[in-house]
Symmetry: C2
Subunit: 414 residues, 2 copies
C-alpha cells in the first residue's frame, strides 16, 4: 500500500550516481552543463558524481565524437570504452543470438545461430549459449568486465529463476531453463530473464521508436505474438512478471482454435501462421515462407496483399483494445507486424477509428520498431545493466579487481 | 525518458511529512513506533514530523479508540477530528451525491439526489452540486477547512479542466462541465475531476477490497461499464487521463451494436442493458428494473438466472483479457458486476480457466467491491486530498488563518 519508504539522506548520493550513469548510458555523450540541467543538481555536486563514476571505471571525460562545432570543443562525459559490458541473449523459436553490449548500448560482438524449429530442448539451447558466452569472453580484452547476462525468452518466464512457465512455440512448459543454463555458465555471473516482447518494449522505450514517450505499447509478431507495456516510463510487469500476453487476448470467442487451448486469440488473427493462412499459403511458418509473402505483398500479388490486409484488420482491433484500456502515446510494432503496419496502415487506422474512444484514438501514434529485429536482444542487455544503473557503487567492480575475477570465471568455464 | 529528477535534501522533509500524513490518513491510528517502522526513519525524525503536522492542524496524538490492551494505553497519532475535509461529488447517469469526507476517510455529511435519466444538462448538475456544497459548508462548524472538491464523472474527463470528453450515457460530448461547475462554486476552491471507475479503483486500492495489492483492476457495471487499473500501487491514467475504458474493449467484432458506434464492446455483453436483455426483460435499465432482475435471480427464477449467468460469461472473458495483459493480483467488481460475480462465479472462473494464461490465471483473486456503492465517491475525496498528502506544508491552511478564508468563500457562495 505505502509508497516507497521515506528517502534517507545517505541513499541520495548513490541514487544520484545511478541517475547520472543512466543518462550517459542512454544518450552517450553529455556535457557537464547538460547533466547539471537534467538532474537539477548544482555544478559541484555533478563534479563529485562524475569523479566517483570515473574512479569506478564507468565513465570518462573526452572530446566529443562529432566535430560540428567551431572553436575548442568542450569535453563531454561518456561511457568508458573499456567499461563493463552486458551479455545479451535472445532465444527465439528457431534461433539463438548471444552478444556483448557496451555501456552506451553498442553491440561489441555477436553470434547468431539458427536452430531446428521443432524439438529444441532447454539443454540444447543452454549448451549453445554457454559455448557462445565462452567465445565472447575469449574475443574481448582480458580487462573487460561483465555486469551479467540478460536472456530474452519467447514465453512467460520468472525474472530471477528463469523458469519458463510456458513458451508455446518451443513447446516448453514449466522448464527450469534458468537452472539448466546457469549450471553451464562461468560461476558468479548474474543471469536474469525476461519475456521477449517485454524486453523489446523496454529497449524501444530506452533507445528506439518509443524513446521520449512515457506511455507506450510494443507488439511483436513472429510465430507467436507478444506485447510489452510501458506505463509512466516503466515496464509493466504485473504481479508475477507475466504481464503483456497480448497474443492471447480474445478477439472473437468463436474464432480459430489457438494452441493455448482457447479460441479466437489475437495470435490466431495476426501471428505469422495467420498471415500465411490468410494469404492462401499452405506452407508452415518459417523465416523463408513469411519473407516470401511479404515480398509478394510488396510486389502487389493479390492473395498476399489480401492476407496482409486481413492481418491489418486484426492488428487494428488489437491496438484499439489496447488504446481503450491503456491510452498510450505510441504503439510500436515489430517483427512481421512492422511489415503489416507498413503495408496495411489504412486497415489498421480504420479499425481504430471505429473501435477506439475518440480522445485516446486521436492522440495515439503508430510506429514501426526503431531497433528493427534487435529490440529484444538490446532489451536483454538493458536487463543485465539494471543493477549497475540502480546502484553503481554497490554493483561495479573497480577495474583493478576485475581482471582477476574475470580470469577466474573464464577458467572455470573452460 | 528520465526517472524522476535527483532527490534534493531540502525536498526530503516535505516528502516525508506527506508520507507520514498519508499513513495516518489511510490507517487512522498509528503509534509512533509503527510510524518509525513504516517510514524507516529514526524516532527523533518521526517526532519532529509529528510536531510539524500537529502545528499544521492536520493530526493530533490521543488515546486510541479501541480498548483491547491492558495497562496504560500508549498514545496514537491520528487525523485531527476537526482537520481539513474534502468534498466528494459523484455524478452518475441518474443521480448526484455530494459529501464531506474527513482526513481519515469518514463521511461527515452527504446529500443524495435522484435525477431524471434523460436530458440532464451539465448546467442542471452543476446547479445541484453548487447548492449541495453551500448546504455542506453551512452544516459544518465554521472552523472546518476544505482541501477542495473531487468530482467523479461517468465518462472520460480531463483531470484539471473537467472537460467531459464523452459521457455516453448522459449523452454529453465535449462539455466544459468543469468551467460550468467552477463558476457556480465559492471562489478559490480547488476542483479536480476523474472518471468514476478510475476513482473507484483508487478508493478500492486505498480502503477497499484491493487494499494491500499493488496490481489491481476494478470493474464497475452500471448502465455503462467502466474500469480502473492500479499498476505498482498507482492509478494508471495513460497519456491523457483516458485509460481504463474497459467497457469499449472488443469481445466480438460482429457482436451487438454499441452506442459508441462500434460493435461487440464489453458493455454490450455485461452492462445493465445487456443483463436485462439476456434475462428476457423488455424494460429500460433503471435502478428498479436491475434490482428486480437481481432479486429474481437470487430467488432462482430461470430467465433471470440465465441472464446473470450469460453476463457472467462475458465478465469472465473480459477479466481473462485483463489478466493476460496486466497480470493483476486481484480483480474487483462493483455495481451490478458485483452481483454478477456473486451469482455466477462458476461461469466467470470457467472462462478464466479456458482463456487466461496459466500462471497469471492461477494467482489472480476475484473479489467484490469492499466499499459497496461508495467506491467512486470515496475516490473523489481521495482525489481532493491528493495535493495535501503530496505536500502538507505547501497545501495546508493553518487553523487560525482558515476561518477567515472559509468565511469569505462561503459568503461569496451565498
Amino acid at each position: 500500500v505505502a509508497r516507497t519508504g521515506a528517502a534517507r539522506p545517505e541513499e541520495i548520493r548513490r541514487h544520484n550516481l545511478g541517475l547520472l550513469l543512466e543518462q550517459v548510458h542512454r544518450d552517450g555523450e553529455l556535457t557537464r552543463a547538460e547533466l547539471t540541467q537534467r538532474l537539477g543538481l548544482n555544478r559541484s555536486t555533478i563534479g563529485a558524481l562524475v569523479a566517483e563514476l570515473t574512479d569506478l571505471g564507468l565513465i570518462d571525460e573526452r572530446v566529443p565524437t562529432g566535430n560540428e562545432r567551431a572553436g575548442r570543443p568542450s569535453h563531454v562525459v561518456a561511457p568508458r570504452a573499456d567499461g563493463p559490458f552486458a551479455i545479451a541473449v535472445e532465444v527465439d523459436v528457431d534461433s539463438v543470438v548471444t552478444a556483448a553490449v557496451s555501456l552506451g548500448g553498442e553491440v561489441l560482438a555477436r553470434y547468431d545461430h539458427t536452430l531446428p524449429v521443432n524439438g529444441t530442448t532447454p539443454y540444447d539451447i543452454a549448451e549453445r549459449i554457454a559455448a557462445d558466452v565462452e567465445d565472447l569472453f575469449a574475443s574481448l580484452p582480458l580487462s573487460a568486465r561483465s555486469v551479467g547476462i540478460g536472456v530474452s525468452t519467447p514465453g512467460t518466464v520468472t525474472p530471477t529463476g528463469g523458469r519458463v512457465e510456458h513458451a508455446p512455440n518451443l513447446e516448453w512448459r514449466n522448464e527450469p531453463f534458468g537452472t539448466i543454463l546457469t549450471e553451464r555458465l562461468p560461476q558468479g555471473i548474474a543471469v536474469s530473464f525476461g519475456n521477449d516482447a517485454n524486453l523489446g518494449a523496454l529497449a524501444e522505450h530506452l533507445r528506439g521508436a518509443a524513446r521520449g514517450f512515457h506511455d507506450a505499447v510494443y507488439l511483436t509478431g513472429k510465430i507467436g505474438v507478444g506485447g510489452g507495456v510501458i506505463v509512466d516510463g516503466k515496464l509493466l510487469s504485473g504481479a508475477g512478471g507475466f504481464a503483456g500476453e497480448v497474443g492471447h487476448m480474445l478477439l472473437d470467442p468463436l474464432g480459430p482454435p489457438c494452441h493455448c487451448g482457447s479460441r479466437g486469440c489475437v495470435e490466431t488473427y495476426v501471428g505469422e501462421q495467420a498471415l500465411l493462412r490468410l494469404a492462401g499459403r499452405t506452407v508452415p511458418p518459417s523465416r523463408e515462407s513469411v519473407a516470401e509473402v511479404v515480398r509478394a505483398a510488396r510486389a502487389g500479388e493479390p492473395d498476399a496483399l489480401r492476407g496482409v490486409r486481413a492481418v491489418g484488420v486484426g492488428l487494428g482491433r488489437t491496438i484499439a483494445n489496447l488504446v481503450n484500456l491503456l491510452n498510450p502515446q505510441v504503439v510500436i510494432t515489430g517483427g512481421s507486424l512492422a511489415t503489416v503496419l507498413e503495408l496495411s496502415r489504412a486497415e489498421v487506422e480504420h479499425e481504430l477509428d471505429v473501435r477506439a474512444m475518440s480522445e485516446a484514438r486521436r492522440t495515439v501514434q503508430l510506429r514501426t520498431a526503431g531497433l528493427g529485429d534487435n529490440s529484444s536482444l538490446i532489451g536483454g542487455a538493458e536487463l543485465a545493466f539494471g543493477p549497475l544503473l540502480a546502484d553503481p557503487v554497490g554493483t561495479a567492480v573497480p577495474p583493478e579487481r576485475a581482471d582477476r575475477r574475470l580470469e577466474r570465471a573464464t577458467r572455470a568455464a573452460i
